[in-house]
């Protein structure tokens, strides 16, 4: 009833745990049966291992949080060797989220992931917390076009491109990524924001700005997802502040094929299950047989 197809991959339901908020899934399997999920997007990977950013990495704001983790991860090779075998056993779609700082790095990592058992490659051109590359690829659509094109050549895995809400023009960005070969689009990553400690009169974060996520960003994220759904033909995976089944239904009504849940995982470890069950109950109540009946219904 809730199953969806994203670029040829069948998800048992439209709820995916978002990158960077669910580790490699293992941390959460102590709390609930993670096979309930439609999919898991891995912590953002880079070609070489990365230590991430110094200083404060998290700051809470009204209805949201800011993070400056800076893509701390063990690197693609260690991911394939140490993490992927366990993720495979979780009986849910495995999405590898890939970040980087140069096109060559992205391509080399994509080649390695191409040979692995991952189901979908989610190209992250939208991380606001790395000094070089990262989001820089996700601001100008001509730059995004180039990198997506190069990665497309490097892999035959389904390719989902994750957009930044900080892009100059979100629709132009999505269209260009599709032209360059994206099979699906996911959005949004975190919004660039600033917090200031008024006592010390200094920015909270060493990089001054950090990524804002959580319920606070939902209306903006929903608007962007709606707009992108209107301008591309590929499946769109929406996210940004989803913490209830109602939020998820809104994204689906805006046109999302699937949705990702990020920050809300920190509120309650099994919140994704609440959202899945909420969607099922809503469909039963409203007599909805398939999500297609309500997908993009507000158009």
């Amino acid at each position: 009833m809730t199953s969806v197809n994203i670029c040829g991959v069948e998800l048992k339901n439209p709820v995916i745990a978002a990158s960077g908020t669910f580790g490699f899934g293992g941390e959460f399997s102590d709390y609930f049966d993670v096979s309930r999920l439609g999919g898991i997007s891995s912590k953002g990977l880079t070609l070489a291992p990365k230590q991430g950013n110094d200083g404060v990495r998290m700051h809470e704001v009204r209805s949201g949080m800011m993070n400056s983790v800076g893509l701390q991860n063990p690197g693609v090779e260690a991911f394939i060797k140490d993490e992927l075998p366990q993720m495979e056993k979780m009986n849910t779609a495995v999405i590898a989220n890939l970040g980087g700082s140069t096109i060559e790095d992205y391509v080399r990592a994509a080649v390695m992931l191409d040979k692995s058992s991952i189901d979908i490659l989610e190209l992250n051109i939208s991380c606001p917390n790395v000094k070089e590359g990262g989001m820089a690829f996700g601001i100008k659509s001509c730059v995004a076009y180039e990198i997506v094109g190069e990665v497309r050549k490097a892999t035959s895995k389904p390719l989902m491109v994750k957009l930044s809400p900080n892009a100059e023009d979100i629709c132009d960005m999505a269209i260009n990524c599709c032209k360059a070969g994206a099979d699906a689009i996911s959005l949004v990553n975190t919004f660039k924001g600033i917090a200031i400690d008024i006592k010390s009169r200094k920015p909270v974060f060493e990089n001054i700005s950090a990524g804002v996520s959580g319920p606070a960003i939902k209306p903006m994220a929903l608007r962007m997802v709606y707009e992108v759904c209107g301008c591309v033909d590929v499946p769109v995976v929406g996210m940004g502040g989803i913490s209830t089944y109602e939020d998820a239904i809104e994204f689906i009504m805006a046109g999302s094929h699937a949705i990702q849940v990020g920050t809300a995982n920190f509120i309650k470890p099994d919140i994704c299950v609440d959202i899945i069950e909420g969607i099922e109950a809503f469909m039963a109540r409203e007599g909805i047989k398939s999500l297609e009946e309500i997908r993009g219904i507000i158009k």
């Binding site: 908020t21 941390e27 102590d30 920190f266």
Partner: protein
């Protein structure tokens, strides 16, 4: 698989000093000293749960000692008997009791005495362990109910000299007298004490309290630098050997 996210009811919540409260929650919990819970007594706002260490455990309840500093702890301070509260935990590695043998010194700074209380209780049941307690406060001491009267050595220092010695407790503390030291307090205090213990060649364990979001090792916002690379305070810690850590001065 046993979910460690439970909804429970407040047993008691009492103010014990200016901004410090003691909150007990009904239920039976199997906890190691030094472990903590992510507590939540609200719906969506504030967004994140609050990490609080275990202060005491008995058959029918678990107790936390907390300082009211902001939005979350203010909400905790208004809780009454029977109110709902969610607990995620126990989390973290906790103190390895087997490591704590011989003459053990527990050193707490302010609200840092909270987890040391439960550690003290467990250690004082072990044979071959001689525990002393050293606590530093800005002003009036708190959280020492179990320790006062039962501990053979209790040293207190206050910055305003209202009780005990005047100044910082670590200035009155001599690591050489002990086989191992345990410290929980502000980062600057732990950092200074690590240096002092290193100079004296005495091992020290500290509890690192970083800002946390998930509390279970997934988000990587709580990392601290160690000689072995970044580690997560919530899942690899919060207890670390002082000699492992790379601290800023």
């Amino acid at each position: 698989m046993k979910s460690k996210y439970v909804e429970a009811a407040v047993y008691k919540n009492e103010q014990i000093s200016d901004c410090v409260f003691r909150l007990s929650v009904k239920g039976s919990f199997d906890v190691k000293p030094g472990q903590f819970f992510m507590l939540r007594a609200w719906g969506q706002e504030p967004l994140l749960s609050r990490p609080i260490s275990v202060h005491d455990v008995d058959d029918e309840k678990i107790t936390f000692l907390y300082h009211v500093v902001g939005r979350g702890t203010q909400i905790f301070s208004k809780l009454r008997e029977g109110d709902d509260i969610s607990l995620l935990g126990p989390l973290g590695n906790g103190f390895e009791l087997d490591m704590l043998k011989g003459k053990v010194a527990l050193v707490g700074g302010g609200i840092g005495v909270a987890p040391l209380n439960y550690l003290y209780k467990k250690l004082s049941m072990n044979e071959g362990v001689e525990v002393s307690f050293h606590a530093g406060y800005r002003s009036q001491p708190f959280g020492l109910e179990c320790i006062q009267g039962s501990c053979s050595l209790l040293n207190i220092a206050t910055e305003d000299a209202c009780v005990g010695e005047k100044g910082y407790i670590i200035d009155y503390f001599e690591p050489k007298l002990y086989d191992i030291v345990v410290c929980c307090g502000p980062e600057i205090m732990m950092s200074k004490l690590i240096k002092k213990c290193e100079a004296a060649g005495v091992p020290i364990l500290v509890s690192m309290e970083k800002k946390m979001a998930c509390g279970i090792g997934a988000c990587l916002v709580c990392t601290c630098k160690t000689k072995d690379g970044n580690k997560r305070s919530c899942a690899d810690g919060p207890v670390f050997l002082g000699s492992e850590l790379i601290l800023n001065d």
